[in-house]
């Protein structure tokens, strides 16, 4: 389930790592700015991921192997 390169879990994990490094405060300024902009990029990607999935409910038709919309 990793078709378009960005994984939410990894994004959040990297983000938390960045936040903890920045909070520690001993990062050189140039690196801090790089980390910060990477952090913003990850946040936007994560936010995007949250709404990316369209609500869809399907049921597998075992005879045809097709997925059919499921209303129950």
């Amino acid at each position: 389930m990793e078709e378009n390169g960005f994984n939410y879990e990894q994004g959040i994990a990297e983000l938390e790592e960045i936040v903890s490094r920045l909070s520690a405060g001993n990062v050189p300024l140039d690196d801090s700015l790089k980390l910060y902009s990477r952090g913003l990029e990850l946040l936007n990607l994560c936010d995007g991921k949250l709404t990316e999935v369209e609500k869809k409910i399907s049921v597998l038709n075992k005879k045809t192997g097709e997925e059919e919309s499921f209303e129950g």
């Binding site: 920045l22 949250l50 409910i57």
Partner: protein, 399 residues
């Protein structure tokens, strides 16, 4: 051919036949209790062994005599007789007495399977896979009928409007249950369409859930590359499927809650991360700025200007010290000269001359006695305000 008046008469006749049978009218049998339903007048349940089952009824007043409670899976020995309930035409065992016969066969079977699989490490916590934080697509293996799938869909919808669910319809009880659930797992594994799987079924008796105590199913779950959540039965029902799955939830609703984080929570978490990120970078920049400010206020930064300033000050100081020393020396000298001058004045002749005395210079020397001059010598007489030039006319020496 006998023509019955009605069905009731038919049932009553069948019942009479059963009652007439020596073995059926007074019998003893062993089995496991399941599907217990209690009413004020008595309890209905099934008795079951490995192959067969029979509906049973026991009156409340007889149950009250027991020193144990009727429980699912309990293995018992009973005495009673077989009858037909005339209104329904259903055949059942009416129980007079009941005694416990140790742990039920099914429960015992499950326990043995549990022990074997556990010793093989199928339930080991370190083998459990982590659930995805945000599932992109959720696979559900369950019946497409009934409340379970609806509970799951409703719960997912409530927590997050963004979800994608694929249901693999499967029998969830009976002999095909274990096989179909395995097929579902294999389908999801081979198609890579989902990133988490929920196996769901409502509550039921140990027989109803028996398919989930299947060894092949347990091994399929164990080897499944996708995380599996077991949501089989109610809170108190445990199956092998629960133990081997990566996560067990007491109900299908709980499984849906577990698998899908609340959208608001995720949004809130991202907002918090954003705030922390902003705060961190701001405080780093503030700190750097303060460092810079501190440095810029430090005079050492202006070398060589600062050094020149220092040297100037030093020089001024030296100058002042030098001046003050020199001044003192001058004053001292002046004072000394002044006092010398005074002493000189006291020793000199002018004071004496003022008082009316005079002195005589002859031949460049001060005249102290008469022998120094002869008659006719030119002499100079000094008085306080001038000189008198004169000639010696007579000399008288004191006697």
């Amino acid at each position: 051919m006998y023509e019955f008046r009605d069905i009731l008469e038919l049932n009553q006749r069948a019942c009479t036949v059963l009652f007439a049978d020596e073995q059926l009218s007074s019998l003893k049998v062993k089995g496991e209790l399941s599907g217990i339903k209690n009413y004020s007048y008595g309890s209905f349940f099934n008795m079951k062994d490995g192959t067969s089952q029979i509906s049973c009824f026991m009156y409340k007043n007889r149950i009250d005599l027991l020193n144990f409670r009727l429980e699912e899976g309990l293995s018992v020995n009973v005495t009673g007789f077989v009858s037909i309930y005339p209104e329904r035409g259903s055949y059942r065992l009416e129980i007079d007495t009941m005694s416990r016969a140790g742990v039920g066969d099914l429960a015992e079977q499950m326990r043995r399977l549990y022990e074997r699989l556990r010793s093989e490490g199928l339930f080991a916590p370190e083998h459990k896979k982590k659930l995805p934080l945000l599932p992109r697509r959720i696979g559900v293996i369950s019946s497409s009928q009934g409340a379970v799938i609806h509970d799951i869909i409703n719960t997912l919808s409530r927590r997050n409007p963004h979800f994608d669910l694929l249901l693999y319809p499967s029998a969830v009880q009976g002999e095909s249950c274990a096989r179909e659930v395995c097929e579902g797992l294999n389908y999801f594994m081979s198609s890579s369409k989902v990133d988490v799987i929920i196996i769901a079924r409502g509550g039921g008796s140990i027989e109803d859930l028996w398919g989930f105590n299947d060894e092949t199913l347990a091994r399929t779950i164990y080897n499944c590359s996708i995380p599996v959540i077991s949501a089989v039965g109610h809170e108190t029902d445990y199956t092998i499927c629960d133990y081997v799955s990566d996560m067990r939830t007491p109900t299908p609703t709980a499984a849906a809650e577990l698998v899908m984080p609340s959208y608001e929570e995720l949004k809130g978490r991202n907002r918090n991360l954003r705030d922390v990120l902003d705060f961190s970078i701001k405080s780093i920049i503030d700190r750097k700025r303060n460092q810079l400010k501190y440095l810029s206020e430090n005079k050492a930064l202006y070398t060589p200007m600062y050094n020149i300033e220092i040297q100037k000050n030093r020089l001024n100081l030296l100058k002042e010290r030098f001046n003050s020393i020199t001044d003192k020396r001058l004053t001292d000298e002046k004072n000394r000269i002044g006092s010398l001058r005074k002493s000189l004045a006291l020793l000199g002749p002018s004071n004496t001359l003022d008082r009316g005395y005079s002195y005589i210079i002859s031949d460049g020397r001060t005249v102290r006695n008469v022998s120094q001059v002869r008659v006719g010598d030119e002499i100079r007489i000094f008085v306080s305000d001038g000189v008198i030039e004169a000639r010696v006319e007579n000399i008288k020496e004191n006697e």
